[in-house]
């Protein structure tokens, strides 16, 4: 069974490619998938009819007892036969319904097949979590299908409406399912239904009501009924599938599935009876007023769904049998009718029954199919619809719903009258000759396949009526799980003899035809009170209220000023943890037993305080920046003294890097920072800042004071060596013990680097070594990054060339550069790179690692850039930053997978010991490659910073407003 579902998923994935190569013919091929599923189910029918079940499954979330479990019994077999059978025909029909030029056909095909698969999985699912997942999958797929014509406003609105209504119902259902599952002690749907009669209590009642809300919203019962007629914005084949076999039937299925267990819960029958009866009448009244054939059918479906749920919810054997039979009959006639309308719509160009005329003559086969289906809907013998309606009447005569049965029987008869009325309206309007219409309306002859599909479905209703005996065993397989309330069990028969039910059927038909007469039909429009139940209005009011409310909240809280937002956050911090700190007496736990750990720490601390205070007060931009840099170095010293060499090393390197980056940008800004705030305002700022500072320091100290458990990291050192094969505990923590954190951090760095580049470059992802972009625009400019292969590359070629070029060009003065510095950096560069690689490799056992190594390499690049400008940078790193970042993440990710491949978990370190000929015995730790990834990403980040904030800003600074009219061409031949 799982294979069948897998094939659906696969087909959905392949569908776009198929449609691209085969065009709309691909639908015929895709139809084979549900058809094959249908055939497979058919082969299992003997088992199911004999009372057996077919099950499959595997454990999914063992801790919660959730399994991917599927189960085929009489009920799910019936439903899944309909889903796959009707599904196959509908998919095949699409091959003709759509024109070859239809938009978005590939996506549509994928979604349609996926929808069919999800619906199949829904009726097979035996685990409530899986059921819920499939339930919401059908919701999402139907959202996509209804919104297929996304360029139409009504389509979008209808899709959104269907999504919100059914997804909200689905979430409610999930709550109910979990409550019931916990009460029953199993997440198996079959188990819950079996345990149902033994459960009681308020929780179970609440759970049942929640589940019913989900089911009824899916099945478009009052008050959720409005989404279904709106959803006919979908292409007609989708409507056919949605109304006949999928989506709305899910709600009926769930009611049928749970009825054996929960029909006796107090809320069940009243809730269902009232809403379903109301829905049946409302849908019928509205349907009888429609002019649009598709709308007529859509409201008809609402009415029929009320009918089905009413029977399904009764929880008696006879009603269950009638309900399931009605589900089958409805699937056949409603899909046939919708597909007929699809043909009419395509070939006549209208669905308005006031404009259609003479189709009976022009398209006899189509008219026959449509009439058969409509007759089945109306309950005319000998069609299946007649047999099931007789069964339904009998079920109510057999005391389903106990004392309420007579009232509900009257409702059902009245509903049937309306059904006959709108069925008559459909047939007369669509197929007979009319005099009022335009006789010149064209009729395009539909192809044989186009008509064949509705014809097959229409005929099925005709055949199934007399052949009801063949279907009955399957239906009673389900019905017999329900309690029988009547001495003689109901038997579905083509000719039950002259009974009360037959009389009621005849009455319904006669009255229905009368109601359909134009004169009386006009009067039914006066049945306003029912039509007044327009949840649509409530729906809109609800959406408006939500929108308006969110806008008001936004306007209240987002005042447009960052300072206000920050102050709010800080205020909460002071009022919450601050008050708690004082109130709980945690302050008393603070243990301050020493002034400092060492004299050196005092020096570093004083330096840090002095530079911080000075930075906060500084007016000069550069001074403030340098002072914050000083703070950073002082903190690095504190780290080093605190036994954290790795942190200190990283801090020092990052501080340098930050300083360079800040200076690169801020050199473009004015010398002084504009002082916006008056002294009083500044004092106010301090009045907020100081308590926050004190609070946080005290919080930290108090947290340390009240600590009662040993640190989680106590075992890290021994673990680091035993499992991580490294002596540097911090490094092993980064690449192994807490490697997931590091992966997250790498992603943050990648995002930040990309953000920086895109903010500066705007129209591209940066990366091309400097000069590249200019070269594309103008005639040749020498690019040192890609030296001309014809000319032997010369040492120190870049700067000289650049300088000459600048001299030859009018405009901004050449940047200040010194040859000596350039020479020195070029000499030192390889050495620093070697050291950085040493850091990388040694980091596992000594201070260093990927972060420090990468930063050092980055600083080497900084030196080259500072000495020689952007061309020098291009010379030093002729790669794109994006490539480095991507390669780094790939490297880290692959090394994480290596742990899995080598028999461990993801990101688990594996140690490989090899004897290599030259190197001798080599011990290779897979986490090294993780660190290589870290290294590459850090270098990528630095490169992005230099390219964006350095080189690109240089370029923008050189050419302030207008693009350079005289691209540099001189100097390309000049060699030192």
């Amino acid at each position: 069974m799982l294979v069948v579902l897998g094939v659906h998923a696969l087909a959905a994935l392949l569908a776009p490619a198929l449609v691209r190569t085969l065009g709309r013919r691909a639908f015929a091929l895709l139809a084979l998938v549900p058809a094959a599923a249908c055939a497979w189910i058919a082969t299992r029918l003997p088992t199911v009819v004999a009372g057996g079940t077919v099950t499959e499954g595997f454990s999914w979330i063992p801790a919660l007892g959730v399994e991917v479990a599927v189960r085929l019994d009489a009920l799910s077999a019936t439903l899944s036969l309909l889903v796959t059978g009707v599904g196959a025909l509908v998919v095949a029909y699409c091959a003709r319904y759509f024109t070859p030029s239809s938009r978005g056909l590939g996506r549509f095909a994928a979604v349609l097949v996926g929808f069919a698969g999800a619906m199949l999985a829904l009726v097979w699912a035996d685990d409530v979590v899986v059921l819920y997942v499939c339930w919401e999958l059908t919701t999402i797929f139907s959202f996509l299908l209804v919104g297929q014509d996304a360029h139409k406003r009504a389509s979008r609105a209808a899709a959104m409406q269907a999504l919100v209504v059914t997804a909200a119902g689905g979430l409610t259902m999930l709550v109910g399912l979990v409550v019931l599952a916990e009460a029953a002690g199993t997440y198996r749907l079959s188990g819950i239904a079996a345990a149902g009669p033994h459960l009681s209590g308020a929780a179970v009642t609440a759970g049942v009501v929640c589940v019913l809300v989900g089911a009824l919203s899916k099945s478009a019962l009052v008050p959720f009924h409005f989404w279904l007629p709106s959803a006919m914005a979908a292409p007609t084949p989708v409507s056919a599938f949605l109304h006949a076999a999928a989506m709305v039937k899910a709600g009926v299925y769930l009611v049928l599935r749970l009825a054996p267990g929960f029909a006796d819960v107090a809320a069940w029958r009243p809730l269902i009876a009232v809403l379903a009866a109301l829905t049946m009448l409302l849908g019928g009244v509205v349907a009888a007023r429609q002019h649009d054939l598709k709308l007529l059918l859509a409201h008809g479906t609402v009415s029929q769904l009320g009918f089905m749920v009413l029977l399904a919810g009764a929880g008696t054997r006879d009603a269950g049998l009638a309900a399931l039979a009605l589900v089958v009959a409805h699937a056949l006639f409603k899909s046939a009718l919708f597909l007929t309308v699809g043909v009419i719509d395509r070939c006549a160009g209208t669905r308005d029954l006031r404009e259609l005329s003479g189709l009976g003559r022009r398209a006899p086969v189509l008219a026959a199919a449509g009439t058969l289906a409509a007759a089945s809907m109306a309950g005319i013998p000998p069609l299946l619809g007649f047999v099931t309606k007789e069964g339904a009447f009998e079920a109510f005569l057999h005391d389903s719903y106990g004392p309420a049965a007579p009232v509900l029987l009257a409702v059902v008869v009245l509903g049937s009258v309306l059904t006959v009325a709108y069925s008559t309206r459909f047939v007369v309007g669509a197929f007979t000759d009319a005099f009022t219409t335009d006789p010149h309306r064209t009729w395009i002859r539909p192809g044989p396949l186009f008509v064949a599909v509705p014809a097959v479905l229409g005929l099925a209703g005709l055949v199934a009526g007399p052949a009801i005996g063949l279907i009955t065993p399957l239906l009673t397989g389900y019905a017999d799980t329900l309690a029988a309330t009547y001495p003689t069990p109901l038997v579905l028969k083509l000719w039950p003899g002259v009974t009360v039910a037959l009389g009621l059927s005849a009455l319904a038909i006669v009255l229905g035809v009368l109601v359909a007469l134009p004169r009386i039909a006009a009067r039914t429009a006066a049945l306003r009170p029912l039509a007044a139940i327009r949840s649509e209005v409530t729906w809109r009011a609800l959406v408006h209220a939500v929108e308006a409310g969110s806008m008001r909240v936004t306007a209240q809280t987002q005042r447009g000023s960052l300072a206000v937002v920050v102050c709010t956050v800080l205020g909460v911090l002071l009022a919450g943890p601050g008050v708690a700190l004082v109130a709980t007496g945690a302050l008393g736990e603070i243990r301050l037993d020493r002034v400092a750990d060492s004299p050196a720490q005092v020096v570093a601390g004083v330096l840090a305080v002095v530079s911080t205070v000075a930075a906060a007060l500084a007016r000069r931009r550069l001074a403030a920046v340098l002072l914050v840099g000083g703070l950073g170095y002082a903190v690095a010293v504190v780290f080093a003294l605190a036994g954290a060499p790795d942190v200190a090393l990283t801090q020092a390197l990052v501080e340098t890097m930050t300083l360079v980056a800040v200076v690169l940008v801020l050199r473009r800004l004015p010398r002084d920072i504009t002082e916006h705030h008056s002294p009083r305002r500044r004092l106010a700022r301090l009045a907020i800042a100081a308590p926050v500072g004190v609070l946080l320091a005290l919080l930290g100290a108090a947290a340390l004071g009240v600590r009662s458990l040993p640190a989680v990291s106590t075992a890290f050192p021994s673990q680091a060596y035993a499992f991580g094969a490294g002596q540097n505990v911090v490094n092993v923590t980064l690449v192994d013990i807490r490697a997931w954190d590091t992966i997250g951090e790498l992603s943050v760095l990648l995002a930040a680097a990309t953000g920086v580049a895109s903010l500066v470059f705007l129209d591209r992802r940066t990366g091309t070594p400097p000069g590249g972009s200019r070269r594309r625009r103008g005639p040749a400019i020498p690019d040192p990054a890609t030296p001309d292969p014809a000319v032997p590359s010369a040492w120190l070629r870049g700067p000289t060339l650049e300088r000459l070029a600048r001299r030859a060009r009018p405009g901004p003065a050449a940047t200040e550069r010194t040859l000596l510095l350039e020479v020195v950096t070029r000499l030192v560069f390889p050495t620093i790179m070697v050291v950085s690689v040493y850091f990388l490799f040694a980091g596992h056992n000594a201070p260093g690692g990927g972060f420090a190594g990468g930063l050092l390499a980055g600083l080497a690049l900084v030196a080259r850039y500072v000495a020689g400008g952007r061309y020098e940078l291009g010379e030093a790193a002729p790669v794109e930053a994006g490539t480095l970042l991507g390669a780094g993440l790939l490297c880290a990710g692959l090394s994480g997978l290596a742990g899995l491949v080598l028999g461990g978990e993801v990101l688990q370190t594996a140690v490989l010991e090899l004897d290599v000929p030259v190197l001798g015995h080599v011990k290779l730790v897979t986490s090294l490659f993780f660190d290589v990834g870290v290294y590459l990403i850090v270098v990528g980040l630095v490169l992005d910073i230099l390219r964006s904030l350095g080189a690109e800003l240089d370029r923008l600074g050189d050419t302030p407003a207008t693009p350079d009219p005289t691209p540099v061409t001189t100097g390309s031949e000049v060699r030192p």
Binding site: S230, G560, V609, A615, R685, G693, V756
Partner: protein, 155 residues
């Protein structure tokens, strides 16, 4: 566990200065504030690891005497992330300067427009909720839909 006066004072001063800078209108000061706050937080986390110990290198010191490796790993990543954040802020400062010649935090225009819309009583786009045209048929609608479909079928 215990802590030292020096670290306590240092953290308090750094947080105070950081918040003070953060509340300024100048973007440069906001950036500096974030850098200071980063340092303050790193110190706080390191101090939460307990008293100073030896470097966490197996074999060079007894395990019991080592400083907490976990807080160090956390701080190490935090330091590098602060670099990324600083670079991003710098890019924003650059944008702000290029576009407006301003280094200031200005009022959020989007927030202002929300307030203005609310004042004017503007609401949701009514049309986006409207499913008529598929919910109930008006003659004109139906005609148009019909002829469109017909044209497509003919094509």
């Amino acid at each position: 566990m215990t802590t030292s006066w020096l670290l306590l004072m240092l953290i308090a001063v750094l947080y105070t200065a950081g918040v003070y800078l953060l509340l300024d209108r100048s973007l440069t000061r906001v950036l500096l504030g974030i850098l200071v706050l980063g340092n303050a937080t790193n110190l706080l986390v390191i101090s939460a690891g307990g008293p100073t110990g030896a470097a966490a290198l197996v074999g060079r010191a007894p395990e019991a005497a080592m400083s907490d490796a976990l807080v160090q790993a956390l701080v190490l990543t935090a330091i590098v992330i602060t670099l990324g954040v600083a670079a991003f802020l710098l890019a924003i400062i650059h944008r702000s300067w290029t576009l407006d010649r301003e280094d200031d935090l200005t009022e959020d225009t989007e927030d202002r427009s929300v307030r203005r819309r609310l004042a004017r009583g503007e609401q949701v786009d009514e049309d986006e909720l409207d499913t008529t045209g598929c919910e109930e048929v008006s003659d004109t609608d139906d005609d148009r839909a019909g002829s469109e479909a017909g044209a497509e079928a003919q094509a």
